[in-house]
Amino acid sequence: MDYKLTFKDYADALTKGKLLGLKCNNCGKITVPPKMACQECGETDLEIVEMNKKGKIVTFTKVNVAPEGRENEIPYIIALVQLEEGPWIMGNLIDIDPEKATMELMDREVKVGFRVFPGDKYSPGNQPRPLFSFA
């Protein structure tokens, strides 16, 4: 079985400003980030599609106590974003002082960018990850 879109290819594309997903040729749903089988129906007949990087915040939190090794990043906002194409992705939200986060963030429209986060002893090195800012 092939990996249609590897983590490396996904990450390389994200670093160039492209958010890639996998569209299922069986049910039409899109899986982001990549997985070997469609998250909706489990089919493996998938094709690579480019997202338009727009979505809205469906829920969020502000983290004041970080995982080990990330203490210097606090406070930061984690947002769960529903992309226009359907999938939900998670990432950090910029464009706002985290201490000023309120319920008004709910449903806010955002665009998807990226930031390269440093690796740690449990990772293969630096990784780009989705970063949201207000549309």
Binding site: Q39, T59, T61, V63, W88, M90, M103, M106
Partner: protein
Amino acid sequence: MESIKDKVAIVGMGCTKFGERWDVGIHDLAIEATYEAIEDAGIGLEDIQACFLGTVTAPVLGVGGGLVSDALKLRDIPIIRNENWCTTGHIALMEAAMSIMAGMFDVVLALGVEKLKDTGYPGLGTGRGMHPVLEARRTAPGSFGMIAPAYFKKYGLSNEEGKKLIGQIAVKNHHNGSMCPKAHFHNEITLEQVLKAPIIAWPLGLFDCCGNSDGSAAAILTRSDMAKSFRDDPIYLKGVGVSTDSMLPHNRPEFGWTSFGAMVKSSQMAYEHAGIRNPREELDLAEVHDCFTITELAIYEDLCFSPRGGAREDIESGFFSLEGGLPVNVDGGLKCFGHPVGASGIRMTYEVYKQLQGKADKPERQIKNASRGLSHTFGGPPQTSAVAIFGNEKG
């Protein structure tokens, strides 16, 4: 599928003091809980035919059954270890029950033990979830914290109203736990303290989060037709349910983040086995997974204690208090009794067992005429949920 109702009984249980147990090792915790359980059952270690061990963090790799074989002198019998996040203790209980129902063993030990404090797990993890491209610095409080804005928005609560609502759950659980000698914490707290506490993961503050504790709990299980040869008041297993949803919310779009399929399905499975149609009316107490206050609120609705959107009214009317219609977390819950992960499902069951026997450690905590109780753990969101239901008589 056949109901498992009344096929297995618990005839002995034990539970250690929970808390920061720097005074003992993990072996001592296992001994403390198991010795109380075998004394309660009136048996010796040599009567145990198999041990089902639940532990999560300690030590993560290669622990196997060796963790307790020396401590409990269980050197020649099967010791089977599981790890299933916060449901680990319940899974040990269910494995033990299944081995009896399969006819493999007559007397088995289900043991949960966790030495959280000195195994380096602060409950925060790496924020990545074993997925190289997903890291958003998500922590356990962060994961559960995201329930709150979604729930508040859906039911028209401002953040201030929502915080006050869930804060009452922490106040209730501390009140209940303050009366429990074995609980991690013994202090009552006020709603004002909850609201003024430092934020851990917005909108959850310090008092919205459960205790990170060391502890152990143990159960001796047998065939229900043999149960009365051990004691006059065995507690019968009425039903169990386990359900596992996605580990990553990314893979479950549109699930709403206010309700969790694993909690709904695991409870429905257990209710079906137990023949319970209206848990709100038919249960006398419930010990549920209040890892965070907002989780307990979601549980009220997912386990059908409250109608959808009805948790607010039930919290405000005191329905889940010790004197209410369905007392929940009568020993203080994870919030106040503490949460040594692998032990928690069995600790909750210990409380249900004692309450159904009418043997709560202090008379002021005893629920009058309790005959049906439920225990529940939830790892996630939105992962894994486990439910077990018990009764003090057959039928």
